[in-house]
């Protein structure tokens, strides 16, 4: 086999029978099923996968999984493009199209001035003037950012699923698999999630035997057993992205991306929301790179990644390997390389006296081990071609350097446990000197860590610890004894010596002058940047993060953070433990917005509530208004009509003939109990004790601070039964409010509430002819004014259905509000429409409703009030009884110093100065239109319409001290420069004696 063929002839888990064609940066390439984009790129000899963010340096693939900082690619096109995927996590499929997201030409040019761009350079310049900054900013913005956002709506769907399990196992490596087996064996409900396409974790690249067989055999048997367990659910391609309070975790499952852009039925990604009694974290560890000069050259990789490419993907990403390690484990990469027959230039080990099984094995294989040395600098242009090594003692250079040629440098600076999830809960990792790593902190009763994440170095140890964690978790969740039931398979592995601590390889030049020693590849953060930050006083690790952007990238510093912390500690002369890590947060790896939004977009973004007559409105061409979650008809345009024309027609019908409106959305609360009257007295400004049975009364509901928050008419249906109406938007708030006061303050009052909003369909017949119309379909109620006066409710049958008819009015006209159980709503509505046909009955919507009520000066809570108005502000003292024995909620606040000020904004009517122009709602009123800003506020227009009945505009507004300013003029300056005049008038425009509604 030729040395420069990257794809090995045999081995690996790829399927050589399934070749897959793909395109990278316009180049047509080929890989196999089982490849990731990264392994396929390496197999094709693609070394440079992007340019660095700040300096525009060429970058290659460093890792093989979630940690990859460089190979950030854009996959797909147009609407189904995904901007920032890691090539190491993209499964290859036929027809895949990917592009590198590296820097722009501009950046490469800027890169040449790299020395001018130390950490935080932008804080120090570009500020000669605000304008100059805006120009610079544009340049910076275009230079920054990786992929492009898709340019059209996402064609895919997503959804979510809730889970409750006894044991959630995160990570399906040897530790996680063992844990799942044990927990499942005890009968616990187990969920096992792993972010990779296949379960197995590090076993997928394992060359040792388990229990005498190859790792793959053990893996297959284990998976078969788990798969067969009814109480186990397996989630591959599922990243546990967040760990929240009370063992709530989120998992993002990728369901279709690996299949390519074929139209797949179902969902692209699914969010699993998990409540776990116990969580076993078996997330493994990520190898730590070594920081030396030019360590970002393509061809400098993690040792474990080199091994993974060789063993799992059958790819050899180079010819001659130089291994740089601080631990025994790294030696395995040299052995792997040796096994496939490629050249191992040498093993450079920074430790004093490497010993141990792997070291011996390497030496036995004839590999040169250069101890007490370090790579101080990598050499090469767009790929590493060699490295300078120099002798090292106690992490200081002690001699001259020499050069070794190689085209691949594998680094192993030790292992960083993947403790992200546990740390997201707020528990800080703790530094372990002996393990030379941060280990998970004390995570409490609900969480266990097993395997490499807990710092366990051996495979056997991981298997055992996993099993024990599984059994313990099961027993804590109530299953089994906590003992393991099966022995872990035997593993043939030598013992390992401790890992050396080397976080920044010294260079003959000082850090500030040496070639760049990269700590965070993605954001081009160097050791010199960290040093500079500290020098300038940004000493807290969180400051360093924010000043240099260390760990700010899409990899969240999975490779760089620990080295960065250690370098900072060294610069500050502190312990690593004292410096600590930055805060860990979700997501573990970036989580798709769509998956988190799940199906709750489009029609499911919010529930839409419909009345029983909804379809009728649709059929009759209603335009809709959204009120809370309800759809309400706004107006019903007839052919060719403008909105104003339709509303005029509807208004006139209501005033002169008959009209009908669907009022089903009003909140309705059935209140029963001996103390119902007393209760109502306490929550409403008005009194309800003396209200006769069958009678109705209007009330205002106040917050304790005296502001109006709801209003409505309440009817007494029986001695101890009332029906309360609330505004549409507030129905649920009021219902909860009543329960709250009853349950928490006045439990002694005998009263019960039942929401009946949805039970009643309400059709309000309005207009002088409403009585005649209703009489046609209601014969068992005497509808005459004497027998059935205003503010009275009667029961009877309407169109054959049992009904409650209220003589209440929100229009000031004769009006009958017909309430029937909702299942009959549509039929009764139809009957009323039929009965009214001969009188040209007009359906009307909310707009007409608003005009009619405004003509009468009736307020709408939330439109004329804004949460800061008291009853007196609205001129509604008439609805307030101050001398009730108990008082009422909000009563006391009406006397507060500020609430009795005479110059508070008060409700008034506003007559348009020219008699023609409708004042804009939201228009601001001023006393002196000539005054330049800031102009003192005099008031604002709250409701404003053209009144067809009065043939002129009418408006309501709040004007400071308005009650005493009748007849005065105020001005309404508009954005277009016009100034409208208005005079302050009484707020009742129509039928001030209230005769029409009482006929």
């Amino acid at each position: 086999m030729s040395e420069d063929v990257r794809r090995l002839a045999a081995g690996g888990r790829i399927d050589r029978d399934q070749a897959l064609d793909f395109v990278f940066d316009g180049r047509a390439l080929r890989g196999f099923a089982g490849d990731t984009l990264a392994s396929a790129l390496l197999a094709n000899g693609v070394d440079v996968v992007g340019r660095s963010f700040k300096y525009g340096r060429p970058r290659g693939i460093v890792g093989h999984g979630a940690e990859e900082p460089n190979a950030i690619v854009e996959v797909g096109t147009g609407a189904s493009c995904v901007p920032n995927l890691r090539a190491t996590q993209v499964e290859l499929y036929d027809g895949l199209e990917a592009r590198s997201t590296g820097s722009s030409v501009f950046q490469r040019a800027v890169g040449a001035f790299g020395r001018l761009l130390p950490a935080g350079f932008y804080y120090k310049t570009f500020m000669s003037s605000p304008r100059a900054w805006m120009a610079w900013e544009r340049l910076l913005r275009h230079a920054a950012g990786f992929g492009r956002a898709p340019d059209a709506a996402d064609p895919d769907t997503y959804d979510r699923m809730n889970h409750h399990c006894d044991v959630l196992v995160v990570g399906a490596g040897p530790a996680g698999l063992s844990a799942a087996l044990e927990a499942a064996g005890w009968g616990a409900r187990v969920l096992l999630a792993d972010e990779q396409s296949e379960f197995g974790g590090s076993l997928l690249a394992e060359t040792r035997t388990l229990g005498g067989d190859g790792a793959a055999a053990w893996l297959d048997a284990t998976l078969a057993e788990l798969d067969a367990s009814a109480n186990v659910e397996l989630l591959p391609r599922s990243t546990v992205s967040g760990y929240y309070d009370h063992n709530f975790l989120t998992i993002v499952e990728r369901r279709s991306d690996h299949l390519g852009p074929v139209a797949v039925a179902g969902t692209r990604e699914r969010l699993h929301r998990v409540r776990a009694e116990q969580v076993v974290l078996a997330t493994g560890a990520i190898e730590r790179p070594l920081v030396f000069a030019n360590n970002d050259l393509p061809g400098v990789m993690l040792a474990s990644s080199v091994s993974t490419y060789v063993n799992r993907y059958a790819v050899a990403p180079g010819k001659s390997l130089l291994l740089f390690t601080t631990n025994d484990h790294g030696y395995r990469t040299a052995l792997d390389w040796h096994r496939i027959g490629r050249e191992v230039v040498a093993i450079v080990d920074a430790r004093e006296n490497p010993a141990g099984g792997w070291v011996a094995a390497a030496k036995d294989s004839g590999i040169e081990v250069i101890a007490r040395h370090a790579i101080t600098e990598a050499v090469g242009r767009s790929r590493v071609s060699g490295a300078a090594i120099a002798p090292l003692q106690r992490n200081a250079l002690v001699g001259a350097s020499r050069r070794l040629a190689c085209d691949l440098v594998a680094c192993s600076g030790g292992w960083n446990p993947t403790l992200h999830l546990g740390s997201q809960t707020g528990v800080k990792p703790r530094w372990s000197k002996s393990a030379a790593a941060f280990l998970p902190g004390d995570l409490g009763e609900g969480t266990l860590c097993a395997g490499a994440v807990a710092g366990t170095p051996t495979l056997r140890g991981c298997l055992e610890q996993g099993a024990l964690a599984g059994a313990t978790a099961a027993s804590r969740a109530g299953f089994g004894s906590g003992r393991t039931t099966r022995a872990a398979p035997e593993v043939d592995e030598p013992s390992e010596a401790p890992t050396g601590s080397l976080f920044l390889v010294p260079h003959p030049k000082r850090v500030s002058r040496a070639p760049r020693q990269f700590v965070d590849f993605q954001l081009d953060v160097t050791a010199a940047d960290i040093e500079l930050a500290a020098r300038e006083g940004y000493e807290s690790v969180e400051h360093v993060k924010r000043y240099t952007a260390l760990g700010f990238g899409t990899d969240q510093g999975k490779l760089g953070n620990v080295n960065g912390v250690a370098i900072l500690a060294d610069v500050l002369g502190k312990d690593i433990a004292e410096v600590g890590t930055t805060m860990y947060r979700p997501s573990y790896t970036p989580a798709t917005f769509g998956a988190i939004a799940a199906r709750d977009v489009g029609g499911f973004f919010d529930a839409e509530r419909h009345t029983p007559m909804h379809d009728w409105h649709t059929d009759h061409g209603a335009e809709w208004e959204d009120v809370g979650r309800w759809k309400r008809p706004w107006y019903y345009p007839q052919s060719g009509e403008t909105m104003q024309q339709a509303v005029n027609r509807e208004c006139l019908a209501a005033r002169d003939g008959v009209a009908i409106v669907d009022a089903s959305t009003l909140g309705k609360i059935d209140i029963q109990g001996a103390d119902a009257a007393e209760f109502l007295d306490r929550v409403y400004t008005t009194g309800f004790r003396k209200l006769g049975i069958g009678r109705c009364r209007y009330g205002l509901m106040l917050h304790e601070d005296g502001t109006i928050f709801d209003d409505g008419v309440t009817a007494r249906l029986a001695e101890s039964r009332y029906l309360m109406h609330t505004t549409t938007g507030n129905a649920e708030v009021v219902f909860a409010w009543l329960e709250r006061w009853h349950q928490t303050e006045w439990p002694d009052l005998k009263v019960y509430f039942t929401s009946v909003t949805d039970h009643w369909a309400t059709a309000a017949l309005v207009g002088p002819k409403s009585r005649t119309v209703l009489a046609k379909v209601c014969t068992d109620i005497d509808l005459s004014g004497e027998a059935f006066p205003f503010m009275v409710v009667r029961e009877g049958r309407v169109a054959g259905v049992p009904a409650r008819v209220f003589r209440i009015s929100f229009s000031g006209e004769l009006s009958f509000e017909v309430n029937v159980p909702a299942q009959h709503g549509r039929s009764v509505w139809d009957a009323l429409i039929d009965a009214g046909a001969e009188f040209d009955i007009m359906p009307y919507g909310t707009e007409t409703m608003h005009v009619l009520r405004a003509e009468k000066g009736f307020i709408i809570v939330g439109q004329d009030t804004d949460g800061s108005m008291t009853p007196a502000d609205m001129g509604m003292d008439w609805a307030v009884r101050r001398n009730k024995p108990f008082g009422f909620l909000g009563d006391r606040s009406l006397d507060l110093a500020d609430h009795v000020r005479e110059d508070r904004p008060q409700l008034v009517g506003l007559a348009s100065g020219d008699g023609k122009t409708v004042l804009p709602e939201g228009g601001q009123l001023v006393d002196d239109p000539e005054r330049p800003p800031p102009v003192p506020f005099a008031g604002h227009v709250t409701s404003s319409y053209y009144s067809a009945r009065l043939s002129r505009p009418i408006a309501l507004g709040m004007v400071k001290g308005g009650a005493k300013r009748m007849g005065e003029t105020v001005y309404c300056p508009l954005a277009d420069g016009r100034v409208l005049k208005a005079s302050i008038v009484d707020s009742v425009f129509y039928d001030p004696k209230e005769e029409r509604q009482r006929v």
């Binding site: 901007p83 500020m127 805006m134 900013e137 990786f146 492009r148």
Partner: protein, 435 residues
Amino acid sequence: MVKYASISETRCAGSNPGRMERYSLLSLVRHARRYHENWQRAWRDPAPKKAYDIVIVGGGGHGLATAYYLAKVHGVTDVAVVEKGWLGGGNTGRNTTIVRSNYLRDESSHLYEFSLKLWEGLSQELNFNVMFSPRGVLYLGHNLHDMREIERRVNANRLNGIDAELLSTADVQKLVPLMSCSPNARYPVLGASLQRRGGIARHDAVAWGFARAADAQGVDILQRTEVTGVRCDNGAVAGVETSRGFIGARKVACVTAGNSGVLAAMAGLKLPIESRPLQALVSEPLKPCLDVVVQSSGVHCYVSQADKGDLVIGAGTDSYNGYGQRGSFSVIEHTLQAICELFPAFSRVRMNRHWGGIVDICPDACPIIGETPVRGLYFNCGWGTGGFKATPGSGYVFAETLAYERPHPLAAPFSLDRFATGALVDEHGAAGVAH
């Protein structure tokens, strides 16, 4: 390795009061020639003195700005800023950085507009680029009620001399091509208000810029110094107990945002404030795709694109109290539903990180600035979900309030006693969506 002893040694020296090295392109070039080895500390790390004239508790933007203006405008330099953690580690360092002044009521719009004017020259004033980017802030309306409120606010703003425009759906679409403006949406975009002078800024830089400038004026900035008690004698403040010992003070000014209730309790006071988690999240960095700030309280989200390319997205507050600097995941879910609903193309974008801050919420969604029943003890808090934009203005008026022991006129409406008189300045509408 080569080590610079100087890093720990310069801690207390560094920039001498009054001798702040000016940042500029020129200085950058000069330092580049010396491998950036000679940059001064941005601020000293002094040992606490026994006593100060004024101790400011809280090294967020507001506290540092207060210190800066006290020294710069009023010549009061015997001041310490006491911060329990690292500068800007509170809400200053975790907010979505929206700056605007289009509030509804006169009282608040005057204050925020004053602040916006300071923003406009802040980088130059501090000689620190805070990257204030007045790219415009859109506020969307989704139903008739929203549109009425928007129109009211636009009109009110214009009369207060604040730039404000009312935009149609088509205008919005032009400004934000990726937004879904379909009339059939569950929450259709019916229009919007636009304040062009509004925008975003680099939050950390605000804290650092004020710190550096205050330090240069002689203010002592004491990080990793937690106030654990407020000492009072005969109803007047005497100083603060800290994790580094007692520090005497004639006046103590608490600017501790989410922790204000805790500070108040130390002085035996209770405030009309509840501390709630407010969350935010960022996407992975993208090439420029959103050039204005978009806010919507109807679907409840707000989003801008930071200069680095990440979408910075604000979520809602949790409905309950919390000090954990984290919030409920369901809030994140709801926010991303809103984002995907408004920007269906962002559905494939991914969330890199999400976090929370603790916001101090007043019943009227307005701040509290001024004295307390304890003589010499002042509070500046209650900025809740929207105080970043107020940072320079708040510091300015609070400094004057402290220096002259009477409220700055712009601060006067925000005194603590409004909760007794009922003179609340209700800004729930304008502050409705956290920002």
